[in-house]
Symmetry: C2
Subunit: 492 residues, 2 copies
């Protein structure tokens, strides 16, 4: 390209209507021309005065563009002799066409490809019958806003930094420990509480600290998708744990020698809704001891029981420091808060906190401080009490409506607890077809995630969330569900 | 234990001064006695009336405690014959002494133990000369508070949920893409921007998606601790990349066949401060092509250059979709915000977003929405402009003060950029001793992290952060540093 062509190129590309400053436009055109070898190494450029005249812009504009290109080594300047395309630009990189891009495109790793095949969550967070979410419309955001605002500022600049202790803000760890002691019979010091960015991070931290790649995690079948997904993404193999009418039974499950971890939700098995009785809890702990397993206790919705005080946690029954308790604020507050916690055995507390600091570098202390206040000032307990009444009514209404609409053709989970019902059909029905029919009724049904064979419920069970469904929408939703069931069965 | 002993146990344990309600105190004592087998399976308990009289409490208090213990299967009740310890409690779990706990304590995995040995960060985030942090005291928190408050509420309830797209809030991805295009010559669509919870999560996501366990990452030597730590915690091997006066040289580095990824900070090498010239950038991209490597470009502090416009990114020079650009808001805003981003090649964008949704389940959309506004309304650019002036003055003052105090005995990094200087001693000196002496002067010096041998600078170089040091503290800090150096050299 001769110099006159550069001028042509610039004349065509530059535009006064373009909001990008003229100096930057000139820079961009020349830089691109150097990189795609339209301008070749050693080539002389017009003087800034000559180019400015050609383009009808001020000389300083061209000079500044040249200066930057020289500073960045695209051009070189030699006093007295002029400005040249730098010799170092003559490298084989530049000037690939779109077609050659495709040829060179690298692919994901095997791990990255595998992660794409793992179960994921729904992308809808309200309406009938999205599972796993509370009703954000009833959350006292005006109060939350005030608490968050209280801490964003220059009063305590340490809150603008990283968490000095990877376990989280001390005030929040203290508040969680006090809450758990009273409400969940969880026995712990605040140092054993590790604040995380939600249950996914909690699972990831446990997998990395307690298991090596290739170790197996025995997970309840069916389960919440987060466990197989996050554990597999951390290199663990996944085994199916047998769930019966007493919840997880280790005795009935295949536990190979490389099993290292068992995951359970004894308070309210997800998704089947079974509450594990005391005897089974003790048996599970004994089984974990026999097989030398860590126990992850997922207590995801234990705040919500509608027929009395919740059962005490497995952690509170553990006498040899093998239970890791997993809690979240996503159910008792709102999903997007993304704060959860682990309660780890005392001898692991320091290792977990410092690993969290290393691999996650936590911060967000304004939010952690607001949450500590929210608990300490009683708002947390108050909101739970209020929502317990509301969700209890929703569950009862959903039970009644479903019984009226579907009668003997279904069996519902029994526990008066949580934010969902597990509904099993007592007649042959293709759940995949039902899901499609439900979408036509503008309904979203939860899908149980299976790890191994469960012919008794696989394909004929769905999860119905009611946390995000106001009472006056429940009857309408059940009517839609009834129509979807009838059309699935070919009765209409 | 006979029944009369239970009464004794209760009499001793119960206290009206205890803020825990009496009914809960009774419950706790009996529950513990069942679990430690002080009360044995089948044993009969006194009637609620008899126990209430013995204890001097109301009968309803005892009845409620019994009811809960029965509901939770610790006790059983048989109409007419009384209340008994449940048979199911007769399992070998309970009643471990503290001593036996220790015998059964399980240990961390090999991976968990390894993580504890990886480099970590400082736990101090202000003062002379903590590296890597901006000055939070100059951040407009009043404005930030207003933007965050604007979004916490019921106006847009979707912000209270999880991120529907794992890549982050669309408005924020758009804002970042626009900013990067103008400021950093980064070529991308908003879909290629993946919002993360900071650089640690950015690195973790790249390791999982682009590398398999056992693959090697070639990392600049020295480097920021986050890279070897997070990549090793994700199963990668770490190799040392040679850093010379032009920054990373792949040609001079050992790149084995299982190398899959190279990490570089071309804009302002951390910590040495070298700015990679254009020729080396092109050579690096060619080398990456020859070795079939992904390139992670860490552009951690590129907002801060004090002698003209920043160099364009490596990503903008990349013509075959192998550069992953890593950015953060922790330097340009405040450390604890914990939001960062990746710019990934277009063909990876969907896979990265959906993997993020699966393994991290991101949320915190109130903060993401506030940040989008902060950028779109021009506050981000304005704060950077203001801080660029301030940090430029701090760096100049620190350079001048150091030259005056330590003269020819030191060499400083040359780039007018960033939030730190790299200081190398031109005489034999034990940096470990210097660090201890500096602490006595209430100074914190940054420690360069080495991956392989660097006898030219290892043990005789330190990192001096000035981002968090007001100008009127710089001279005082340098005086303290001078004393520390003199005492290290034994001159005082």
């Amino acid at each position: 390209m001769r110099a006159v062509l550069l001028t042509d190129l610039l004349s065509q590309a530059l535009s006064e209507a373009n909001p990008v400053p003229m100096q930057r436009q000139i820079y961009d055109v020349i830089r691109r021309a150097v990189l795609d070898h339209s301008l070749v190494a050693g080539q002389k450029l017009p003087s800034s005065r000559a180019l400015a005249e050609e383009l009808g812009v001020s000389r300083i504009t061209v000079s500044l563009a040249y200066d930057r290109l020289i500073a960045e080594n695209y051009l070189t300047a030699s006093t007295g002799s002029g400005t040249f395309v730098a010799a170092t630009t003559d490298l084989p990189l530049a000037g690939k066409s779109e077609a050659s891009h495709a040829r060179h495109t690298m692919a994901l790793s095997q791990r990255g490809t595998m992660i794409g095949t793992l179960p994921g969550g729904l992308q809808q967070f309200h309406g009938a019958f999205v599972p796993g979410v509370p009703d954000a419309s009833l959350f006292p955001f005006h109060l939350w806003r005030r608490l968050v605002s209280r801490h964003i500022g220059k009063g305590d600049l340490a809150l603008a930094g990283y968490a000095a202790d990877g376990g989280g803000l001390p005030a929040l760890r203290q508040a969680v420990a006090s809450y758990l002691k009273i409400s969940r019979s969880v026995v712990c010091d605040p140092e054993q509480v590790i604040i995380t960015a939600g249950t996914h991070q909690s699972i990831d931290l446990c997998a990395r600290m307690l298991a090596d790649p290739g170790d197996m995690a025995v997970i309840e079948n069916p389960c919440h998708w987060a466990f197989p997904t996050v554990l597999a993404a951390a290199g663990m193999q996944i085994g199916a744990g047998v769930v019966d009418e007493g919840g997880l039974s280790l005795a009935a499950s295949h536990v190979p020698r490389h099993a290292r971890l068992v995951v359970t939700s004894p308070s309210h098995q997800y998704p089947t809704g079974v509450v594990m009785p005391l005897a089974r809890r003790l048996e599970l702990l004994q089984g974990a001891r026999d097989h030398n397993l860590w126990v992850m206790e997922d207590d995801y919705d234990s705040e919500f029981r509608y027929d009395g005080t919740p059962l005490p946690s497995l952690q509170g029954l553990d006498s040899d420091a093998r239970v890791i308790y997993v809690g979240t604020f996503s159910k008792a507050m709102f999903a997007g808060i993304r704060l959860g916690y682990l309660v780890v055995p005392a001898h692991l507390a320091q290792a977990f906190a410092s690993a969290s600091a290393r691999i996650y570098r936590p911060g967000q202390l304004h939010i952690q401080a607001a949450l500590a206040d929210y608990i300490d000032e009683g708002h947390f307990a108050q909101h739970i009490r209020r929502m317990r009444v509301e969700y209890g009514e929703r569950q009862q209404l959903l039970r009644t409506s479903l019984a009226r609409a579907l009668g003997d053709s279904i069996t519902l989970s029994e526990a008066r607890a949580g934010l969902h019902l597990f509904m099993r059909f007592n007649l042959p029905l293709d759940a995949a077809v039902l899901h499609a029919r439900a979408v036509e009724e503008k309904l979203v049904l939860g899908v149980p995630r299976f790890i191994g064979a469960r012919p008794d419920i696989d394909g004929r069970s769905v999860v119905l969330g009611f946390g995000g469904v106001p009472q006056d929408h429940i009857a309408r939703g059940v009517n839609g569900l009834k129509r979807a069931v009838e059309r699935t069965l070919g009765r209409r």
